[in-house]
């Protein structure tokens, strides 16, 4: 077996050192009737590299990859161009095959990257500080709500209808078990976000208001107004950003009064990957740092006075505080954070803005083309790179019919919000700098045929 270096002679010699006759002597503590006499029944044996490659390649070939079709999906996962430098660098063995940096003297590479990442994320989100990453945007969203409850000592969260339904479902799952109250709403097919309804729902019990920016339907909520209303009730505003490239163009939530900003960092550096692993971003004000979940990297000095970095404030975490920890998170998304950080370093602020403007341009061209398709209307007044169109028929069927024509045409609101009849005709469409005029023409043409 190519991954096992011991030879039969090695094994014999080692057993002799140990003083055992056979390797099963080392499994003596396993009850005899639970120790299998041979390989687990019902499973195949080992395979060569060539054979495995053939099997996996055949599986991969049964998928229509985004790069091989006109592609317009978003809804929490975005396809941007990732420079080849990113994937090359994250495959450096010193990054790929290192562990969480518990021994800082020999993990300064990872630690400095985390410190740079925290600074990049804080500046992008407009917060004072950021952590070293969470699993993904949806779990970061719940962690933010739990953190707001610790800060305000209240247990009711108000969720905008524009919050991604998977995020809202994740929050509801956790709240069912913790006893937090979740006041959620479903989106309405209107041109503006549901700011007024969210503000009206804030009361003296509210710990936080959770608003996605831009929202699920691509609308831009007025965070400053919501922040003002939340703060008047001594509640916190949690802003959720699922498309970080938007912050190359739109004002940062932290600058608009959001107390905690969480996000999905996948759009930068990480790629689509069928939904994971992704990258949770988490930023907040420095005064709340001790209530923050997740790993934090901090600057310090070594015994010779040289600058160095360590994981810090770990008394918040599970390995110290056990059942009193701020979160049970242990492993996070280190390698995805590295990918995000490298991509951000290649872009800089100017490159991020350029990518955002190109995506916005492409989305405007796409929206204009779809608005000319008979029966289709554009919902949004304003959008960044994702918008909603209303079709004259069920959008789920339309998406499948488009796929049959080789076009990945968007995400139906019916799939995201099943059972909401009022949303069934809504289609989310996203464009990025990768979207070409040929792609747009193919989508408009195919949609015209599908709806005819």
């Amino acid at each position: 077996m190519r991954y096992l270096p011991l030879t039969a002679d090695d094994r014999s010699a080692m057993l002799a050192t140990i003083g055992a006759d056979a390797v099963d002597d080392l499994f003596a503590d396993v009850p005899a009737d639970c120790l299998l006499p041979g390989p687990v029944p019902g499973l195949p044996g080992h395979a060569s590299e060539m054979a495995v490659e053939r099997h996996m390649t055949a599986l991969a070939a049964r998928n229509l990859s985004a790069g091989s079709a006109p592609f317009f999906l978003g809804a929490g996962a975005y396809r941007h161009h990732v420079p080849s430098t990113v994937d090359h660098l994250i495959q450096r063995g010193e990054f790929l095959t290192a562990y969480t940096p518990y021994q800082p003297e020999i993990a300064q590479g990872t630690l400095q990257v985390l410190f740079e990442f925290q600074t990049q994320v804080a500046r992008l989100l407009g917060t004072e500080i950021a952590n070293a990453s969470m699993y993904d945007g949806s779990t970061a969203c719940w962690e933010a709500i739990a953190m707001a409850a610790r800060i305000t000592r209240r247990r009711k969260a108000v969720l905008s209808g524009g919050l991604h339904p998977h995020y809202a479902a994740t929050v509801r799952t956790m709240a069912r078990f913790t006893g937090d109250v979740i006041d959620a709403r479903v989106p309405v097919l209107e041109a503006a976000a549901d700011d007024a309804a969210v503000i009206a729902a804030i009361d003296g019990e509210t710990s936080c208001v959770v608003v996605q920016y831009p929202d699920l339907l691509g609308r831009i909520p007025d965070l400053a107004a919501i922040a003002e209303a939340a703060h008047a009730a001594k509640a916190l505003l949690i802003a959720v950003v699922t498309e970080p490239v938007a912050l190359g163009l739109l004002e940062a939530p932290g600058h608009l009064g959001a107390d905690i900003v969480v996000g999905e960092g996948q759009a930068l550096g990480v790629g689509l990957q069928f939904g994971g692993p992704y990258l949770g971003l988490f930023g907040c004000a420095e005064k709340h740092v001790r209530q923050m979940p997740g790993r934090l990297c901090g600057e310090t000095v070594d015994a010779e006075g040289k600058r160095g970095f360590v994981l810090t404030l770990s008394t918040r975490e599970q390995h110290i505080r056990r059942e009193k920890a701020t979160s049970n998170i242990c492993t996070n998304s280190g390698l995805c954070a590295l990918a995000f950080s490298i991509h951000m370093t290649l872009l800089g602020g100017a490159g991020l803005e350029r990518m955002a403007l190109l995506s916005h341009d492409a989305a405007r061209r796409t929206a204009a083309a779809l608005a000319r398709v008979p029966g289709v209307s554009l919902l949004n007044h304003a959008f960044f790179n994702e918008f909603t169109v209303v079709l004259p028929a069920d959008a789920r069927e339309a998406v499948r019919a488009l796929a049959d024509k080789g076009v990945l045409g968007g995400v139906s609101l019916g799939r995201l919000h099943p059972g909401e009849a009022g949303l069934a005709n809504g289609l989310l469409v996203t464009a990025t700098e990768l979207t070409t005029d040929e792609d747009i023409a193919a989508l408009a043409g195919a949609l015209t045929e599908v709806l005819a």
């Binding site: 991954y3 011991l6 010699a13 050192t17 140990i18 499994f27 503590d29 396993v30 009850p31 639970c34 390989p39 687990v40 195949p44 080992h46 490659e53 599986l59 049964r62 229509l64 990859s65 660098l89 063995g93 010193e94 990054f95 095959t97 562990y99 940096p101 740079e116 600074t119 992008l124 699993y135 779990t139 799952t173 069912r176 078990f177 006893g179 190359g248 739109l250 004002e251 600058h255 990957q273 069928f274 994971g276 692993p277 934090l296 000095v301 015994a303 006075g305 160095g308 810090t312 008394t315 998170i329 590295l338 370093t345 800089g348 990518m355 916005h360 341009d361 304003a382 499948r400 700098e433």
Partner: protein
């Protein structure tokens, strides 16, 4: 065994420090000092990508939302970027460089075929919300991995979506909570052994349970009598790590499961150490109701400097109806269906809901499946046997110079546990660990599990050769000898790493979590806590 350094040459202490003052650059040969990106470039127009010029217009309705200033993030050109991260990478230790015997963390070789397969565009470049007909191969890959995990563990079902081990623990406990609620009961206590990993009590508390600790016996196992005495109508279940954090198999696991089931509770097994028994023991045969599997431990997906992980949870027949959405089902015609919210009411009515957006850690599934197919059922069995053989070899090669608290009681499983009992006063586990850095190895896990004083937990894994282990053993024996001789240079180790011991007290007292544009003022290091303990 062969001494790794036959010439007997040893670097003299202090040599590195003296040489450091001699260069104008601050670098020393291949030892690089690397500035922060914020020190390499000011935020400005520079970037390392070619993007067409945008129109520059934004839709008028968007204008009021525009950012007042672009984010103050420096950009580097491609050559500068490659150099920055490559230089930083050289300050990291990694499995690719040598043994990484971090107990309970399972740092085994990461096969590169896994990386190649995960990057096939058919896996890496597909969107989670594409129509199911366009992603049948991906759904099939998930379903194949699920089948392997179920069969290897002898369980009934599997929840694939948890994003790491701790998330898997949460999934298992939420299943238990939902199952108890479905019975109309309100049990709220989870029993956790003293030796458990910190995530266990943290997860139980996060899931809304009260945590009660159960004691261990003198031979490092769960005290079955104490456990039985604690069972009752308010106990929802137990969380047991098996093999446990002392590297020992819980001999009474079946009796524990029987007692817990008889009292109406469920058995959660922390599967962090499944790599010790994969292919040899099916947890389902031991009465387990739920167990997470860290794909980044047992099934070799890379740790990446702290993630991403992946923590699928195998479930018993009793708990399977309560598992989270979404999941895959193979239909009679061979197509794979993804069961999501809209199908849940009809096909999974008791499920507790969704734990995260989308379908879990696909990029880890493809890597783990590649690894599993490579090994097959026979190879995985060999994985466990070699992991246990290597650990016992380390145990018996060191137990005359380091105290092995459970060494006399019999063999260990995949990791060998030592304590600081044989170290002289003033010498600590931390000194041995830092000394190991100077020897060119990553230290073992230290001060965990908490039930052993000054614990040193060594997990070699099955991917270390005998020669590699002999080198590690030789260094550890040398360090134990130096500690016994009172070698003061150990107290200030490491001497040869990119950094000396770091001041963790300063970092915690005055947290600097983002770059602020100026260096820390010179601080006298607080020596009492440097390096922590």
């Amino acid at each position: 065994m062969n001494a790794p350094n036959a010439s007997g040459w040893r670097p003299a202490l202090g040599e590195a420090g003296e040489a450091g003052a001699a260069t104008a650059s601050g670098d020393r040969g291949l030892h690089f000092e690397e500035p922060l990106i914020f020190e390499l470039a000011e935020p400005g127009a520079r970037m390392g990508v070619d993007l067409d010029a945008p129109s520059g217009d934004v839709m008028p309705s968007l204008a009021r939302f525009r950012r007042q200033a672009i984010p103050a993030l420096p950009g580097l050109t491609e050559p500068e970027t490659v150099r920055h991260y490559t230089r930083l990478s050289r300050q990291n230790y990694a499995i690719d460089l040598g043994p990484f015997p971090l107990g309970s963390c399972t740092m085994k070789h990461n096969p590169r075929l896994n990386e190649k397969m995960a990057r096939l565009p058919g896996f890496a470049d597909i969107h989670p919300l594409q129509p199911q007909g366009t992603v049948q191969g991906a759904l099939d890959a998930i379903n194949q991995l699920a089948t392997w995990l179920i069969t290897l563990t002898g369980m009934h079902g599997v929840a694939m979506t948890p994003k790491a081990g701790a998330h898997g623990e949460l999934c298992g406990l939420l299943c238990i909570k939902a199952a108890i609620a479905a019975r109309g009961e309100s049990r709220d206590v989870i029993l956790v052994p003293e030796s458990a990993h910190g995530t266990n009590p943290a997860t139980a508390a996060f899931a809304g349970f009260r945590v009660e600790s159960i004691p261990a016996t003198a031979d490092g196992r769960v005290d079955l009598g104490a456990l039985r005495a604690r069972l009752g109508p308010n106990v929802a279940g137990v969380m047991i790590t098996n093999p446990n954090t002392c590297g020992l198999f819980e001999r009474d696991m079946k009796a524990i499961s029987d007692a817990v089931h008889a009292a109406g509770g469920y058995v959660y097994c922390d599967g962090a150490n499944f790599n010790a028994v994969v292919g040899k023991v099916r947890p389902g045969d031991l009465g387990v109701d739920a167990m997470h599997i860290n794909l980044h431990k047992t099934f070799s997906t890379p740790h990446g400097g702290g993630g991403p992980g992946s923590g699928p949870v195998v479930l018993s027949e009793a708990l399977s109806p309560f598992g989270p959405l979404p999941f895959t089902v193979r239909t009679a015609d061979g197509t794979i269906r993804l069961i999501e919210e809209e199908d849940a009411a009809g096909e999974h009515p008791q499920g507790f809901g969704r734990m995260a957006a989308f379908h879990g850690q696909m990029g880890m599934y493809t890597r783990a499946l590649t690894y599993i197919l490579s090994h097959g059922a026979d190879g995985l069995r060999q994985v466990a046997e070699d992991a246990v053989l290597n650990a016992n070899y380390v145990l018996r090669s060191l137990d005359d110079v380091l105290h092995a608290p459970f060494g006399a009681a019999g063999p260990c499983m995949h990791e060998a546990l030592f304590s600081d009992d044989d170290l002289p006063d003033g010498m600590t586990t931390l000194d041995i660990a830092k000394g190991l850095i100077d020897e060119g190895f990553h230290p073992m896990t230290v001060y965990f599990p908490l039930v052993v004083h000054g614990a040193m937990l060594i997990e070699p894994t099955e991917t270390e050769s005998k020669a590699g282990l002999d080198r590690l053993i030789c260094s550890l024996r040398s360090l134990a000898g130096r500690a016994r001789a009172g070698d003061a240079t150990l107290k200030s180790a490491p001497h040869f790493a990119p950094r000396r011991r770091l001041d963790e007290t300063l970092a915690a007292r005055k947290p600097r979590l983002t770059w602020q544009g100026e260096a820390l003022p010179p601080q006298p290091p607080s020596l009492s806590e440097i390096g922590g303990s």
